[in-house]
């Protein structure tokens, strides 16, 4: 591969297609962290929830021999784990942070335990014939030259994610419920004093958090890859938490940060094939986000001064 091919590879429809494919699990992880922190509960178990859902999608679809039922089992697992954080922290008075840490370490080992029970392997689910969800060709759009190549032919869960992103946007900015959820996170006492059902809002936010992380997990084993491999989420949940940390309660910033990371991750995957030091290349996505945050902060400060 020459350098000319290399440069060209970033200006192709295929590259943008790849960026979307890379970004989906990251976007879902970011959404999960965002939803949980919106009402002030917080969920640092995104990684663990994704990992458990990854495995349950494989096991579920193997047991039922149906991709749809496998997905449902994965979603139930993810939501169940998120609700566990809610229950332990809200009803039983534990620190959500500690519950999250517990769930992460639990998931990392328990997935291997389950894997060993059902496959006799501690590495991957290679011996289980599990099901995957189909890829979707969008009629009409798929025939448009450039655009069709980018947006058509993705995994089913990619389109589910896009729909979720839009629905969440509408919920957060156009409905009273979204405002109420934000209010809970900003000042719980004040929210309660104006009659918002704080408990319900927190429950809902954890439900959404579990749901999105579970879809992220299922995406990893029901399309992106078709088998479960030990610790295969490989830090994507933590990237989501970091993205939420950078964006705060700004939903659009959350998506932008995650997309910057995804673009740089896709670039990195190409760069890594060249005779360059791989340790350095692997820092590109993180440096990219750091630069993004610096630019954003400088711009925001300037704007603030002008006011």
């Amino acid at each position: 591969m020459s350098w000319a091919d290399f440069v060209n590879s970033f200006f192709s429809a295929n590259f943008l297609y790849v960026v979307i494919r890379v970004s989906v699990p990251l976007l879902l992880a970011s959404l999960s962290a965002y939803m949980a922190s919106l009402t002030g509960v917080g969920n640092i178990a995104v990684e663990g929830i994704m990992l458990m859902s990854c495995l349950m999608a494989v096991l579920g679809s193997y047991w039922t021999q149906s991709a749809a039922l496998g997905l449902l089992i994965a979603l139930a697992t993810g939501i169940g784990m998120a609700l566990m954080i809610y229950m332990f922290s809200m009803s039983l008075g534990a620190q959500p942070l500690l519950v999250g840490i517990a769930l992460n370490t639990f998931a990392s080992s328990f997935t291997v335990f389950l894997l060993y029970q059902f496959t006799n392997s501690k590495g991957s689910s290679g011996t289980l014939p599990s099901k995957v969800l189909p890829t979707v060709d969008i009629p009409l759009i798929k025939d448009i030259p450039f655009l069709g190549e980018i947006v058509s032919g993705h995994y089913l869960l990619t389109y589910v994610t896009v729909i979720l992103l839009i629905l969440f946007y509408i919920m957060l900015y156009k409905t009273p419920m979204g405002m109420q959820m934000k209010a809970c996170g900003l000042n719980e006492q004040a929210a309660r004093s104006v009659g918002i059902n704080v408990t319900k809002m927190k429950l809902l936010s954890m439900l959404f958090s579990g749901l999105t992380a579970a879809i992220g997990g299922a995406y990893m084993t029901m399309g992106y890859a078709s088998i479960f491999s030990k610790d295969m989420v490989a830090g994507r949940g933590w990237i989501g938490i970091a993205a939420q940390g950078i964006a705060g309660i700004n939903y659009v910033a959350l998506l932008v940060v995650t997309m910057i990371f995804s673009v740089f991750q896709a670039i990195t995957n190409v760069f890594l094939l060249y005779d360059l030091p791989s340790e350095l290349i692997n820092t590109i996505p993180y440096v990219g986000v750091l630069l993004g945050v610096i630019f954003y902060s400088v711009a925001a400060t300037k704007k603030h001064r002008q006011v």
Binding site: G126, D231, M232, Y274, D275
Partner: protein, 368 residues
């Protein structure tokens, strides 16, 4: 009276000592019905069931366990190395004829025990940094030569007119991490490619677990014309098979017969895996046990098993024989003979000069 007492105590003590002696002997009668000595061998590993490295060792254990005069015990000591000293001490105190353990991560505890128990025999089945003890026999499998075999087949396939091979003379390899131990796998691989004018694309995902990243990198390799891709990336390597199955190009496995691993459950994976390159760990274990039984245990010897000793090689399963045409297979066989005869010296990253490795690596990655 006092004298009497003393005598009684002495007699009692003597009886006790005798009894203990007899009981001790009783448990020591390691003889089968025909009066043949039974060799008790302990295998101390962190765990088995990874369908990779540790299972290779376990397969070696099963082979020697099938001997009539060998009895093996498998001890899964766990990954927590802080427990290994006490586990090793326990094993050493249990009167085994041979203790098999080792590998880069755990050999420290083996050598520690070897120093404390100079009469106990040990076998380090794959050393990282060998130490010389009279009671330790240590072997290693030549990963450089393993990579050499992989390179031979990759180059032979990409230059052939096999079904999934394209016109570009490009091959790829996904290596889990960039370090000398891992680069040793691809030193010989690049050497072959250079001698045959084939371009190599090397990808380091810097992860043993990130299946998705390995898949993305493999897809990029395939886009650049690679049609045979070898994985040396542990669990992440499954991403290589995923990508190769999607794009219909050849993949090569490592450490175990990966075709066999997937043929039942994921035939779409299996049908792109031409063969796998393995360390024949059983050869070392068998050699050690055979010599132990023959009474000539090579304590203090440090050995390197390569192509010449059949210590490394590829798996010739039915699928390989069926899919790879005879002329390609012969080409590989002939090149291997050259190594066995000593006409070709395989470059090793671990023993070689790092400047030379950089040169070989850069040359291999140049567009041809």
């Amino acid at each position: 009276m006092k004298k009497m007492m003393k005598k009684t105590v002495t007699v009692l003590l003597a009886v006790m000592m005798l009894t203990i002696g007899v009981i001790g002997c009783g448990s020591d009668t390691d003889e089968s019905a025909e009066g043949e000595k039974i060799y008790k061998i302990a295998f101390v590993v962190p765990y088995i069931g990874d369908q990779s490295y540790w299972d290779l060792v376990d397969r070696g254990r099963q082979i020697v366990d099938a001997y009539d005069n060998v009895e093996t015990t498998l001890i899964e000591a766990g990954e927590d190395t802080s427990k290994w000293t006490s586990v090793m001490t326990d094993v050493c105190e249990s009167g085994y004829d041979l203790i098999v353990s080792g590998n880069d991560t755990y050999e420290y505890y083996l050598y520690e025990a070897a120093e404390n128990y100079p009469d106990q025999l040990f076998f380090n089945f794959e050393f990282g940094t060998a130490q010389e003890y009279d009671n330790v026999y240590a072997v290693k499998y030549n990963t450089a030569e393993l990579g050499y075999v992989a390179g031979l087949l990759s180059c032979a396939v990409t230059t052939s007119d096999m079904e999934k091979a394209n016109d570009d003379k490009v091959i790829g390899v996904i290596v889990g991490m960039e370090n000398d131990a891992m680069d040793d796998f691809i030193g010989g691989y690049c050497q072959v490619a250079n001698s045959m004018g084939v371009q190599v694309i090397i990808g380091y995902p810097e992860s043993w677990t990130d299946v998705a990243k390995a898949k993305e990198m493999t897809l990029n390799m395939i886009n650049s014309g690679a049609d045979v891709i070898w994985q040396v990336a542990g669990g992440a390597g499954n991403g290589v098979f995923e990508a190769c199955a999607e794009e219909n190009v050849y993949a090569l496995g490592v450490d175990q017969d990966q075709y066999e691993q997937f043929i039942e459950s994921k035939p779409e994976y299996a049908n792109v895996i031409l063969t796998s390159f393995v360390k024949n760990a059983q050869i070392g274990i068998q050699t050690a046990v055979d010599k132990l039984i023959a009474g000539e245990y090579p304590g203090g010897v440090i050995e390197n098993f390569g192509i010449a000793q059949d210590g490394v090689g590829l798996i010739e399963n039915d699928y390989y024989l069926e899919t790879v045409p005879e002329d390609v297979r012969n080409q590989v066989e002939e090149a291997l003979e050259e190594v066995k005869n000593g006409n070709v010296e395989v470059f090793s990253v671990l023993n070689g000069d790092s400047a030379e490795w950089q040169k070989i690596k850069s040359e291999a990655q140049e567009a041809k």
